[in-house]
Amino acid sequence: MLIADKGAARTASPPPSPPSDRQRRVRVLSFSQKLSRWDLKVSPFLYISPFFLLFAIVGLFPLIYTAVISFMDWDQIRQEGEFIGFDQYAWILSQPKFWIALRNTFSIFLLSSVPQLILALFIATMLDRHIRAKTFWRMSALLPYVVAPVAVGLIFNALYADNSGQINAWLTAIGIGPIPWHVEPFWSHVAISTMVNYRWTGYNALILLAAMQAIPRDYYEAARVDGAGVLRQFWSITLPSLKPTFIFVIITSTIGGLQVFEEPRMFDQYGQGGAASQWLTITLYLYNLGWSEWNFGRAAAMAWLLFLIILAIGLINLLVTQKLIGDAGGRGPTLTRAQRRQLARDQRDRRAQNKEGAR
């Protein structure tokens, strides 16, 4: 490959071919030229086709077919279904278990993503300083990312064991006493969130770190000249500059967090989400509907509900994040939409006037 590359570079250097040669080419459209034109037109589609072909089979087809199956009473043995409309959806929405699963999923999602992002921000700030052996510390933060979620689940399951776990031993040692991790819904959510946080905090810290390093250092210098302290710099420069990355990280952790499966599944050896569904999540429920009860219609309806929830939460996240964190270049008070519109109108008018004046 390297040799071919060099060859291409060498032949590229001589001056353009003499005119006689070029005229000859224009006159007759040779077969190889036709081939070349065809090549130019068709190649791009050829190149993207492997991805799109595969995606059509394993992405798009299932997406649509899930919708179809979700309207059916699916017969597992005959591999076909009977159309029953919205009954599966109605059935799911009428199940108390679904609402418990929804509550659990949200609870675990919030307990994992909020502390995770705050912690990741802290770690990123530390990594952003002039530390020695940077790569070593970055790698130490990323290490949990390569550990399989199932393995993480098993390890923390042992740590969180109600009677014999290390965490309860420590809690007893400092006088708090054991916590019923596998009994109380809230505590089981805390335990499961720790597993999620363990795996993803360092990953998110590195993404935030990358964004931090892209902030021009002059900003900080200017802020210091103006007398801003470390906290003020962090609040007024670092956070607003991280906004796009924050949105990205929040959206990805929403998509991941609402699908949480491995951790609750491994939290006990039965994988049913606890005796009273304390830590049953939506995906776990979906799995149990589909592959324990073998009811594919319900599982498919569940999948679509999950998708709609993710979509809704994603949009809400986007709006909230945009409201909460000011614009990177923004100064002064936050304006309402009407005020911003007025401002834009004024600017446009002024620009028009300037143009007139220049003329």
Partner: protein
């Protein structure tokens, strides 16, 4: 880092006259923050310990006997039973450890190679070739990244059951061959890594499109392709939901085998956690070798402000 050490590049304006304060060694003092002290290193050591502790704990329990987990006053020095416990994992006929290891290596490698190939060529087309629908199709690819895996599992299972593929590793490989993230990643990289002039030069020399891709695109894409390979490999290796659904208990991948281990040995956690250590070792080795690249990959892939 280097740009921090030369604080005032000649700008020709008034600010250029301000001279940065020098420290004792005569170098300009760093602009942002001072040498981090105890708190920063303390915090980083805490992160390191938090990352390592669960792994060490699993080794600790995995090297003890069945009473180690129950004993709250256990010693923090590993016991001598690790190899016995590991042997129990490897020899457990219902878990099929070697088969699982082989399946994990095989599926992850095939998936990673295929994703790199299909993503590189599609990324090349999106980044460097003009064709109708270029932008819309790329937007579509990016949008699909938000679709959860669960949305497809029911029909995929039906499809593979129809084909008689359930229980075969092919059913694990095929759905992961298309990676929207991979296409996006390569597009982003190739867009800035290859100057258009280089492509034009190759075209003027009469290279066909595929030859241009092969000589110019593939060569330029190598660093990004290596990172995409690593990411896809780790992801495929750790994937659980779909393999757990579609694979036979007799022919699992490592995460599925681990799940089986827990349902078989949940009383004896030393065996389960010895299995965790065994199953985690391959990726830990990969991390030791390629962790640096993984780190820089994440840092490069992030959306920058």
């Amino acid at each position: 880092m280097t740009d921090l050490l030369k604080p005032h590049q000649a700008g020709g304006d008034a600010t250029a006259t301000i001279v940065a304060p020098k420290d004792r060694t005569g170098r300009p003092r760093r602009i942002r923050g001072y040498r981090p002290g105890f708190w920063v290193y303390g915090g980083l050591i805490a992160v390191l310990l938090a990352s390592l502790f669960p792994l060490y704990f699993s080794f600790l329990i995995g090297s003890g006997d069945s009473s180690t987990l129950r004993d709250p006053n256990r010693s923090w020095i590993p016991g001598g039973n690790f190899f016995a416990n590991a042997a129990a994992v490897v020899n457990d006929p219902s878990v099929n450890f070697w088969r699982a290891l082989w399946n994990s290596i095989w599926t992850s490698t095939v998936i990673a190679v295929a994703v790199v190939m299909s993503s590189t060529i599609a990324g090349w087309a999106f980044a460097k070739l003009r064709f109708p629908g270029n932008k819309a199709l790329l937007a579509f690819v990016i949008a699909t990244m938000a679709v959860p895996q669960q949305l497809g599992v029911v029909p995929l299972y039906v499809l593979f059951a129809e084909l008689g593929w359930t229980g075969k590793v092919g059913a694990v490989i095929v759905p992961m061959l298309a990676s929207a993230f991979g296409v996006f990643w390569m597009t982003q990289y190739l867009r800035q890594a290859v100057p258009d002039e280089l492509i034009e030069a190759a075209r003027v020399d009469g290279a066909s499109m595929i030859r241009t891709f092969w000589t110019v695109g593939m060569t330029a894409a190598r660093p990004a392709a290596a990172m995409l390979f690593l990411f896809t490999f780790v992801q495929a290796w750790n994937n659980f939901f779909w393999p757990f659904i579609v694979l036979d208990r007799q022919d699992p991948t490592l995460p599925v085998a681990l799940a089986l281990l827990q349902s078989n040995h949940f009383v004896d956690y030393s065996i389960v956690l010895a299995g965790v250590v065994l199953a985690t070792l391959p990726l830990l080795l990969l991390f030791v070798v390629a962790g640096r690249q993984l780190v820089s990959g994440i840092m490069a892939g992030a959306v920058k402000g």
